[in-house]
């Protein structure tokens, strides 16, 4: 089943399918390249396993475990990461 990273509940885990680049922004090309590159540089590449640990209240960021380290990722960014979740 495919879900956005932002929709995963604490304790759930999945594998990254793809990262959606932004399309409706006026700095589109630059933005999408930088955005995607940045996530990938932090280790969020397609095929990577991610576990959601907790999320901050009021639609705050999400804490994830990835590649043996702990990251906080803003919800806006998490929305653009498509995940495959095993059910």
């Amino acid at each position: 089943m495919e879900k956005r990273l932002s929709e995963l509940k604490p304790g759930e885990s999945g594998v990254i399918v793809s990262i959606q680049a932004l399309t409706n922004h006026r700095h589109r090309r630059r933005h999408s390249w930088g955005f995607q590159k940045r996530l990938e540089d932090m280790g969020l590449t397609p095929g990577t396993k991610i576990k959601v640990v907790r999320s901050a209240p009021f639609h705050g960021p999400i804490e994830i475990h990835v590649r043996g380290s702990r990251l906080a990722i803003g919800r806006g960014m998490a929305k653009r990461i498509l995940m495959r979740v095993n059910k």
Binding site: L39, D41, P46, R67
Partner: protein, 651 residues
């Protein structure tokens, strides 16, 4: 080969103990400045080791060598172009995979390298065992296990570094990607190697395939045909893998890092939840996290400001005594007055305002950052800060602004991109500092009503929100969301924190004091030359006609540039001289309406001279002047509107 002067660069991820190693190595022989034309800090130092003079440069903590942030760009330009004799890659042994990703990129840059496998104690606590000899073999570079906080392995690290430089190591082989990628890298490298570039050809080829804009730009000038070839080759890779070429390369690089990590480490996780994990869960808890944060921040701020306030007053009293001694020695002639009022008082302003707050502030900031709590605060506050176009990390400087804008401006350093740094700096200068609060409560709160004072704070918050949003939309560049590592909690290394505070303080004094002194000298000169009244007269259209304030407020607003609380003190002095008033209760022409407008204008109109100095230091002259003049114009604009609205309501 014996070299008398060796250039070494320290490189690595953020929070891996790089600055601890830097401080151990350089001791008190260091110099903190900025990279030319950039808002990024540059720390340099010198070490004498076995007859060698070693110049060490501490590169910013980064995760990659792409062009996402200025730090990354600076680091890779430094390594590739300045060609240091050696790069010491500081690696966090407890998060090996992520750190090796960076190591692999350093290897691609073909920099001669020694790896410091740091935080071995931390790794051990997490049940991670690392075979460093095996890692050495795989990486083809010396690996030295270290525990920087207790100086373990530092000597061996330097020994290995000197040995490596003297032996003159052969350039290490880069990362091996899949054959379908390697073939295309080879093809591109061949084309690139004909060009005159300071970078290794293979690295340029990889960066081209990754779509690196900076490298693309350089190649476009030299040989645009290579870009066409790159496009074609990248398309082929995309076809094979079904992802963009940049994604494929980053992915593979991480795969290799992961493979190496698995090969050299053994993990036996402990069964019981360790203390630092429990602390992490507690401080990021969705309910408990907030009261904990509020308590920590408020008590730290309370500590900063009670220390600052106490010391500041103590120093003021001291200097007042000094003043009477000065007057009895040199009299009150014009020259003596100018020297005292202009130069010495400027110096005093700097010492009594900036320093008492800056010292505890730096200590606290580095403590929060080093321990790891800063990232938890950012985690909790991210959403709120997004409302003004910033993310969680900006919360700390914004809060600091309520105490003093100077450390707040300096604290904006923790933001990642130049754009965010400017945005955050702009926002914090709008936050009413302690001195402004004195005016708001001492004038509006005391004579108009407490609710009006609170209203001013609310208005200020709205202004911050609106201007922050506007600036967010207008500034060029890409807005960024939050993505950060939350490294494990650790006990901060006190010696490093104290040293970092000391060197930053030195830098601030060097930068800000001349400006503060020059500013107060100018104002004193204006006063002594009898130009205050004429200037107040010239300002009449603004103060009297547009803002509806008494003419003499023009004078006090000029003095407010030195320190904001002076506006209130000066105003009382002037009213006393003119009307014999001992407080603000019954001054003709200065009723509740005028008080509110006056407080509003003072709150917004200009960062004080110390803040301007901090702005210049962090953002450069152009942006500092832009913020200053914008805020003057904006304060006058808002003040006039407020005056008319208040008149309409019949106040």
């Amino acid at each position: 080969m014996k070299k008398d002067k060796i250039m070494v660069a320290l490189a690595g991820n953020a929070n891996v103990g790089k600055s601890v190693i830097f401080n151990h190595l350089t001791g008190l022989h260091q110099h903190i400045g900025n990279w030319p034309g950039k808002t990024v800090e540059k720390a340099e130092g010198t070490l004498h080791f076995k007859g060698h003079t070693i110049d060490i440069i501490d590169l910013p903590g980064i995760y990659s060598l792409s062009t996402f942030s200025i730090e990354e760009l600076i680091s890779r330009e430094y390594i590739a172009v300045e060609n240091p004799d050696l790069v010491i890659n500081v690696v966090d042994a407890s998060v090996l995979e992520r750190n090796l990703f960076f190591t692999l990129q350093l290897r691609e840059l073909e920099a001669p390298m020694v790896v410091a496998l740091n935080q071995m104690d931390m790794a051990k606590k997490k049940g991670i065992k690392i075979d460093h000899k095996k890692l050495e073999k795989i990486l083809g570079a010396p690996v030295v296990p270290t525990v920087a906080t207790s100086r373990k392995g530092i000597y061996e690290l330097m020994q290995a570094s000197v040995d490596t430089v003297e032996k003159g190591i052969e350039k290490t082989a880069g990362t091996k990607y899949g054959e379908e990628i390697e073939a295309r890298i080879r093809e591109l490298s061949k084309m690139v190697s004909r060009l005159q570039l300071p970078y290794p050809a293979r690295w340029v080829a990889i960066k081209l395939l990754e779509g690196d804009e900076q490298i693309e730009g350089r190649i476009r000038q030299l040989d645009p045909h290579i870009l066409f070839a790159t496009k074609k080759l990248a398309k082929e890779i995309e076809k094979i893998h079904g992802h963009s070429c940049s994604t494929v390369i980053t992915s593979e690089r991480y795969e290799i890092a992961g493979r190496i990590a698995r090969e050299v480490q053994q993990i036996v996780p402990s069964t019981k939840l360790p203390m630092r994990e429990r602390l992490h869960a507690l401080t990021t808890h969705k309910i408990l996290g907030y009261p904990i944060m509020a308590t920590v921040i408020l008590s730290l701020f309370f500590a900063i400001f009670s220390f600052g306030d106490y010391t500041s007053q103590l120093l003021s009293v001291l200097f007042e005594h000094f003043h009477s001694i000065y007057e009895s020695l040199f009299g009150t002639e014009i020259l003596a007055t100018i020297i005292w009022g202009g130069i010495i008082e400027g110096l005093i302003a700097g010492i009594t305002i900036a320093l008492p707050y800056l010292i505890p502030f730096y200590l606290v900031l580095y403590f929060l950052e080093d321990s790891g709590y800063l990232s938890r605060i950012a985690f909790l506050m991210d959403n709120l800060m997004h409302k003004i176009g910033l993310h969680g990390k900006a919360f700390i400087p914004a809060m600091l602004g309520y105490g003093c804008n100077v450390p707040a401006c300096l604290g904006c350093r923790i933001m990642e991109t130049e754009r965010e740094r400017f945005l955050a700096t702009f926002v914090v200068t709008l936050v009413p500092c302690a001195a402004t609060s004195v005016i708001i409560f001492g004038l509006v709160g005391a004579y108009v009503g407490f609710q009006w004072a609170l209203l001013l704070y609310v208005i200020d918050l709205i202004i911050i929100f609106v201007l922050g949003r506007l600036a967010f939309n207008m500034l060029p560049g890409e807005p960024t969301g939050l993505i950060m590592e939350m490294h494990d909690y650790k006990t901060p290394h006190l010696e490093t924190i104290v040293k970092e505070t000391w060197f930053r303080l030195q830098e601030f004094i060097k930068m800000a004091f001349p400006l503060i002194i020059a500013g107060s000298f100018m104002i004193k000169l204006i006063e002594v030359l009898g130009l205050l009244k004429p200037i107040a007269y010239v300002l009449n259209p603004i103060t009297v006609v547009w803002l509806g304030l008494p003419a003499i407020t023009g004078i006090t607003l000029i003095f407010g540039v030195l320190r904001k609380e002076l506006t209130l003190l000066m105003l009382l002095t002037l009213f006393k001289a003119e009307f014999g008033a001992t407080d603000f209760a019954n001054v003709p022409g200065f009723g509740p309406k005028e008080m509110i407008v006056f407080a509003l204008v003072t709150m917004l109109y200009i960062p004080c001279i110390s803040t301007i100095a901090a702005l210049v230091k962090e953002q450069g002259w152009k942006r500092a002047l832009f913020i200053t003049f914008f805020e003057i114009a904006f304060a006058i604009f808002v003040g006039g509107i407020a005056y008319r609205l208040l008149t309409l309501t019949g106040m």
